[in-house]
């Protein structure tokens, strides 16, 4: 290449680099416009708070939120029918390969509760293990006073009430996380059902299908003896409805409920191995010090947006979510944890890829 060629290449590189930086930088103007968000019902309560705060801080900007489940969140974002999808589960390799350029960007750290409806034990955190839960869902443990449950809940007056397992029927990140825990703790469950956003649920006579997080709560409230799973963001609503929260066994044999400390203890094991694309399952990590079902709550976004203005709107909002004090302060209000600094940097890098 001659000097002219080198000069032109350098000039082109400089222009391209400047254009790239300009595209990635937050817009200088105050954020405005409308962003459509849909997906995870677990993230929905927090997303609604973020939307309200964002609008309050930037009156020209509106975030329209909707639930619909993680699977819908991913597919809508991939199809471009929503600006931002929300998912409790990371993108599968199938999603990533079929829709190259689709990003999963953690916004917060969540945990999942196992809930139950035993009026006589209101306020008690019954201890449950993955194996016992797997057997409840597969119909081998049918009564709450089963000897296996009694063995780990010494002194708790477990009632002779039939176990009614509730599960989600639609593609759900909650189901992915919950069944991942069951698969990790119970080899038989892993063989028979495995884990996924959709699984072939065993069908014991008492089992009941539900759709959506809210129906999981109302369904459980209506049936004494129910056991179900839901994000911690629904805990206040569940407790108000008289539902209990189980203490789950982790890999170290400890029974824990989700709390900032137990979530953080679990999270600590996964921060260093979170890859740059932030795809990671954080279920029952080694060591056994933390609450065993935690996950990142993901925003699912296309790297290439229809136009620069849309890209800027999405970048502005997501950067605000992961870094502004207003947004991060809301995270703990729903039982979530803000992203640790290292993961926040990874999310920031992914947000900057949106064009």
């Amino acid at each position: 290449m001659g000097l002219t060629g080198i000069g032109l290449a350098a000039a082109f590189g400089t222009i391209a680099s400047a254009a790239s930086r300009a595209a990635a930088a937050p817009s200088a103007a105050s954020p405005g416009g409308t962003i459509n968000e849909a997906g995870s019902s677990l993230l929905l309560p927090l997303m609604q708070k973020w939307a309200a705060d964002y609008h309050q801080q930037f009156p020209g900007a509106t975030v329209d939120t909707a639930g619909g489940g993680s699977t819908a969140g991913i597919s809508d974002a991939a199809a471009g029918s929503n600006d931002v999808g929300a998912s409790d589960a990371y993108l599968s390799s199938g999603d990533v390969l079929v829709h190259p350029g689709l990003l999963n960007i953690p916004l917060a750290v969540s945990a999942q509760s196992v809930i139950f409806n035993l009026p006589s034990l209101r306020g008690t955190n019954i201890k449950l293990s993955g194996t016992i839960l797997a057997e409840m869902y597969s119909g081998q443990v049918t009564m709450w006073n089963d000897p296996q449950i009694q063995a780990i809940n010494a002194g708790v007056p477990l009632p002779a009430i039939r176990v009614v397992p509730l599960h989600r029927t639609e593609g759900s990140g909650d189901t992915f996380i919950f069944t991942s825990y069951l698969s990790t703790q119970d080899p038989d469950w892993n063989t028979a059902a495995g884990y996924g956003t959709l699984v072939n649920w065993p069908s014991p006579p008492a089992a009941r299908p539900v759709t959506g997080s809210n129906t999981m709560i109302t369904g459980c409230e209506q049936v004494v003896g129910c056991v179900g799973y839901n994000g911690v963001s629904y805990l206040p609503q569940e407790q108000a409805g008289g539902l209990g929260e189980a203490a789950l066994q982790n890999g170290g044999g400890r029974y824990l409920i989700p709390s900032p400390a137990t979530i953080q203890a679990e999270l600590d094991k996964f921060i260093a191995i979170t890859p740059p694309n932030e795809t990671i399952a954080m279920i029952d990590g080694a060591g056994g010090y933390g609450y065993p079902i935690i996950n990142y709550e993901y925003a699912i976004v296309k790297t290439v947006q229809p136009d620069a203005a849309t890209a800027a709107r999405i970048r502005d909002f997501l950067q605000w979510v992961i870094s502004s004090p207003t947004a991060t302060s809301q995270v703990s209000s729903v039982g979530f944890q803000p992203l640790p600094a290292d993961v926040q940097q990874l999310s920031q890098a992914q947000i900057e890829e949106i064009r």
Partner: protein, 460 residues
């Protein structure tokens, strides 16, 4: 040998003075030159024209020969071997990824009480061997030189290879601690790195090498330069023949020794060049039609078979989202074939009997193997994940898969062998032709100048 009859030198009689009272019409061309300035001027002009045409023939002919010869040599000894290295690079990475993913998934499955999970040692060793081979192929490709695109692709590939190994190591650690979902997700990230980074980069490197092969192929078989060289040679021949005819009429001498020698040198060199090009062209046509073309189709088929294999195992662990890889796999399967327009079909119809024979096994086994793969996807779509894994594992070690890959590999070797033999023959065919053309051109210059200068001297 023809006898050269040399008539006594005749000094042309002095011409009558032009009729000053009559104006002659203006005359054009060589005849005009001969008339206007006399025979010496005409001979000088002929010397100049023949020297120019001789040098043009020598230069253009030698350049054409050098270009074609170098193209054929490059095709035989550089292009094809490097494209094979690039193809093997892809296969090594694809095999590494599928091998280790399958092994880790098998290791992560529950085992009956009292039994140990299957060891992943052999798979890890195969992974390391595959990756070491991939690094060796990269080194070979870089040693062969390359353009900026290739250099960049290799650099990116090396970076991504390091990242891939890191993810595999993370997965191994998580599996070893029985943290299966984290192991699976790390393996998913590794596979995504392989599918979105390493394999496309390997494919880019492969396509760069195939483009280089195409350039060598064009260089070795380019018709226009050959035609132009031969046209220049024929122009020189016409000039020499015309000059001899003119000299014979003007000087009453039948032959001019210098021009005869120049003509002979030209005829020999043109004939040699035409014969060589005909021979090399035939060899290259066979090399390309029955060697390079089926080899390229089979190399692509090998890559696609690995892609099908990779898709199926990745689909087993890809459970968090919404998209199955079945459509991608089906598209690859259609591309592989058999059938009209497919890669196997194209290779089989290339007219190479050895390739067609070797491919019979793959053509017979491919449909059943693809059905076995589809069975895995069907189970996956029914959320029977364990059955999907078992089905895919079984399809991967099935006779069908082994038959497809071994048959394609044998046919590829046969096509490569045909190519190498024929391209080698084509390359050898050029032999000393370049020197022959240059020497012939120099002989033409010297002989024709000498022959015409002798005639010219008679006018002084």
């Amino acid at each position: 040998m023809a006898t050269i009859v040399t008539a006594p030198a005749q000094v042309p009689a002095a011409r009558p003075a032009p009729d000053s009272g009559r104006r002659r019409p203006p005359r054009r061309g060589l005849r005009h030159l001969a008339t206007a300035r006399g025979t010496p001027s005409m001979i000088q002009a002929m010397i100049a024209a023949i020297v120019i045409l001789s040098l043009a023939w020598g230069g253009l002919g030698a350049w054409t020969v050098a270009t074609h010869s170098s193209g054929a040599t490059s095709l035989a000894y550089t292009g094809e071997p490097y494209s094979r290295d690039a193809q093997r690079l892809y296969l090594a990475v694809a095999d590494a990824d599928v091998t280790i993913t399958t092994s880790f998934l098998a290791q992560a499955q529950p085992v009956p009480p009292g039994q140990q999970p299957p060891s992943s040692l052999a798979a890890r060793q195969r992974l390391q061997a595959d990756l070491a081979q991939a690094s060796q192929y990269l080194a070979d490709l870089m040693n062969g030189g390359g353009n900026a695109v290739l250099t960049q692709a290799v650099a990116t590939f090396e970076q991504d290879l390091a990242a891939y190994q890191g993810y595999v190591a993370t997965a191994q650690t998580e599996y070893a601690q029985d943290v299966i979902p984290a192991g699976d997700s790390a393996m998913e990230v590794a596979s995504e790195e392989a599918h979105l980074g390493l394999l496309p980069e390997a494919r880019l490197i492969y396509s760069q090498e195939i483009a280089a092969v195409g350039a060598s192929r064009n260089q070795a078989t380019s018709l226009p330069t050959t035609v132009i060289a031969i046209v220049v040679g024929l122009a020189a021949l016409i000039m020499l023949l015309w000059a001899q005819r003119w000299m014979a009429r003007r000087t009453h001498r039948v032959f001019n020794l210098g021009l005869v020698v120049a003509t002979a040198a030209l005829v020999v060199s043109i004939g040699w060049l035409a014969a060589t090009f005909g021979l090399a062209s035939s060899d290259l046509s066979t090399a390309i039609g029955q060697g390079a073309n089926p080899a390229e189709a089979l190399a692509q088929a090998s890559i696609d078979v690995q892609q099908i294999r990779g898709d199926s195992i990745l689909n087993v662990i890809a459970r968090s989202g919404t998209t199955s890889l079945q459509a991608d796999s089906a598209a690859q399967a259609r591309n592989v074939g058999p059938g009209s327009g497919s890669l196997l079909g194209e290779a089989s119809a290339a007219g190479n009997r050895l390739v067609t024979t070797d491919l019979a096994g793959a053509i017979a086994a491919a449909p059943a193997w693809q059905v076995a793969n589809n069975q895995g996807y069907t189970l996956g779509s029914q959320h029977q994940y364990n059955a999907e894994l078992e089905s895919i594992k079984s399809a991967q070690v099935s006779n069908g898969y082994n038959q497809v890959t071994s048959s394609v590999s044998r046919a590829l070797d046969a096509a490569q062998q045909t190519f190498t033999t024929q391209a080698d023959d084509a390359s050898s065919a050029f032999g000393p032709l370049e020197a022959v053309v240059i020497v012939a051109a120099l002989v033409m210059v010297v002989a024709s100048a000498w022959g015409l200068a002798r005639r010219l001297a008679e006018y002084r």
